[in-house]
Structures are given as C-alpha cells and as structure tokens.
Amino acid sequence: MKKLTVKEFYNSNREEFSLTLITKPETLENFITNQYIHRPGLALTGYFERFSFERVQVLGETEISYLQSLKDEELYDRFKELFVFNIPCFIVAKGLSVPEQMEFLANDMNIAILVSKLSTDRLYHSLRKYLEDVFAPTKTIHGTLIDVFGVGILLTGKSGIGKSECALDLVERSHRLITDDVVKIILRDDVLIGTSTNDYGHFMEIRGVGLVDIEKMFGIQAVRLQKRIDVQVELMPWQDNLDYERIGLGDNYVDILDVKIPIIYLPISPGKNVSVIIEVVAMNHILKVYGYDAAEIYTKRLQEDIQKKARIRSALIDDKE
C-alpha cells in the first residue's frame, strides 16, 4: 500500500495549493494513506461514529465558523477528543484562521494544520485530483507510446524487433511520440494514461546510432507528454503456423490494470512497412469508435449476397412447372 508523508505532500504542493504550515514542522511526519478527502462536519459536533479520520481533513468556512461559535472550554474538549484519532493532517481553505486551542492541541498531538489560500471548492477538487493521481494504480511496460491521429498506440514486442524504428518512422510522418522503451501507465478514471517515467525529455535509442533527441530533431510538434492508451500493437516476427487475424470480426483484448483495450498481433517481416499499417490500425480504430466496422459491413454484404443467391437457387429447383 502506497504511503505519502504529509511532509512530501506539503513540500511538493506548497505553491500549487498556496499552503502555509501553522503548526510546528515536526507535525509533518504523519502518513496520508488513501486518496479520499473528508470534511469533518459531524465529527466537529462530537459525533464520531463512522468518522473517516484516516483521510485528509478539509475545513471550510462552515466548519471554521462553527468552531468559532463554540465556547472556549467546549472547543478545547472537542479537540481533545478529536485529536485522539490518527488523523494525517488538516487543511484549512480560504486562508481562514483556526481557533487558538485547535492550533495548540494540534502541536501537542503532532497533527499538522495547513492553511491554503484557495477557495474550499477549488482546494477540494485540486486536492482530490492530486491524491487520486498519487494513489492511482500504475504499471510500467516495456514498449513505445505514440499518438497516431489522436489514437494512443502502445507498441510492444521483443527487444530489437523495431519498436523504436517504427516510432521514428511514425514521428517522421508527423505523429507524436510520448515515450520510448518504458511506458508508465496510470489508471485515471478508468482510462489508461501513458507517460514517461522521467522528465529528461524525449530521447530514443536507435540501434547503431545511439541516443537521439526527438524533440530537438523534429520539433515540439513531434512530442507530447501524456496520452490515453487506446490500442496495443504487439509486433512479432512472422511465424508460418500462427493464426493471424484475417478478417477482424472478433477483436482480441488485453488487460492492463483491469482495463480492457484491443490488441493487434502484427506479424512483421523484412520490407514490410509497419508504420503505414500502424496508421491504418489507428484510422480503423477511429472508424470503429464512430460505429463503422469494415469487417462487419463487408461480411454482412457477403452474407446478403449468399442468401440472395441461395433463394434464387431454391426457387429454380422448386419450380416444377
């Protein structure tokens, strides 16, 4: 299970969420263990049943004004109870100031209070998005990700089969490279998003040449940072007895992080222009998304033709006049 310390969160998001720490720095040692956020309205009133204390607690104007309405002793007792729970941290929105007792007890119990200048709604959504990303299931795959006509194509296959060369050819045909060799896949809202594992830039290794910088060579138009993965294309050496897809009626699927995407097993042999085929794969995918399945249309027409002929044949046979 992934863990994020409040310190890591604070240090990497101080600017984005315009955060300030009002408790002592030692309070930053707690762990954030899940992606959810909680607004502890009822817990503040003293109702602790089903209190999601393990989540990041966000306080907005409502919570703060409620706390301010409490008497000093009441407030002190409430927080005494509240801080018994293993809360990772509090984030206060709109730059609101918290009651002194709360700050004092938080220091005492080692629970960080961060104040953000963002509005509660903004904070809530940005925080949610950030935490979702941090805790999203991820996977790294050996392959190359390229955007072909807006379709994210994940090229896979054995080392040396020509994934990079194929990607290079596609880049030259004005398609965009996301990353070569290692693709980091993040599951975001049931969609697979592929990015690079590092931010060194868009480099690629071409056998016999070495490293080349795609962005420097082909310009900014030839690269992009991330892309939804739509289709996987597995390049494989031609084998005589293997069953390759001939018509395309039954699609093959592959499971990546529990998301099913179509996979195409593409046999390659010397002299075969793989990049043109990849372009065709992308365009065919777009057509299918728009509801046009060439294989289906063709076979339907064929079937109609066969049936028509069969009807004529039986009519001729049955005609005994």
Binding site: N241, D243, R246, I247, L249, A295, Y298, T299, L302, Q303, D305, I306, Q307, K309, A310, R313, S314, I317
Partner: protein
C-alpha cells in the same frame, strides 16, 4: 495437379467464418490452391478471393491443388465442406 468437385452444403454458404477456415487450413500446405466457381477462379489462400466467390448453399465448387502435398490439402478442405464448417 488434382481436382475435386464439391458442393456447399452448409445453410449459410461460404460466409466470412468458413472462408477464414479454408484460408487458414490451406495456408498450412505448400501446394498451390485454387477454387473455381462457374467462370471464376480464385486463389484459395487469399481471404478476399475466397469471400469473393460468395458461394451459396447448393452451389458447386471445384478445388484445384498443385504441389507436393496436394492430396492432403484437398482432403482437409473437402473435409471442411462435408463437416459443414461445424455449422447447422
């Protein structure tokens, strides 16, 4: 070279699935393989060719194989037709 005349007996005729079965079976052999229907002769190892025949139930086809393993090829393909491509 050997030839064999067969009849399409499955109800749906030679639609996409049977055509795929024929092509995949034929591809395993080294012999050349042609299918003739009326005045049309096509390469039996080409999916588009086989589908172009649009052979309906009751139509007659001629299988033509030429090569070292022609007999086995014809035997397997004819078997597919007589087993109605596992349909009906």
């Amino acid at each position: 070279m050997i030839k064999k005349t067969i009849k399409v007996i499955n109800k749906l005729g030679m639609h996409a699935r049977p055509a795929t079965m024929i092509v995949k079976a034929a591809a395993k052999y080294r012999s050349e393989f042609k299918i003739r229907k009326d005045d049309m002769e096509i390469n039996g190892k080409s999916i588009m060719g086989v589908m172009t025949l649009a052979a309906e139930c009751g139509s007659t086809l001629e299988l033509i194989a030429d090569g070292v393993d022609e007999e086995y090829l014809i035997e397997e393909i004819a078997g597919l037709f007589s087993s109605k491509f596992d349909e009906d």
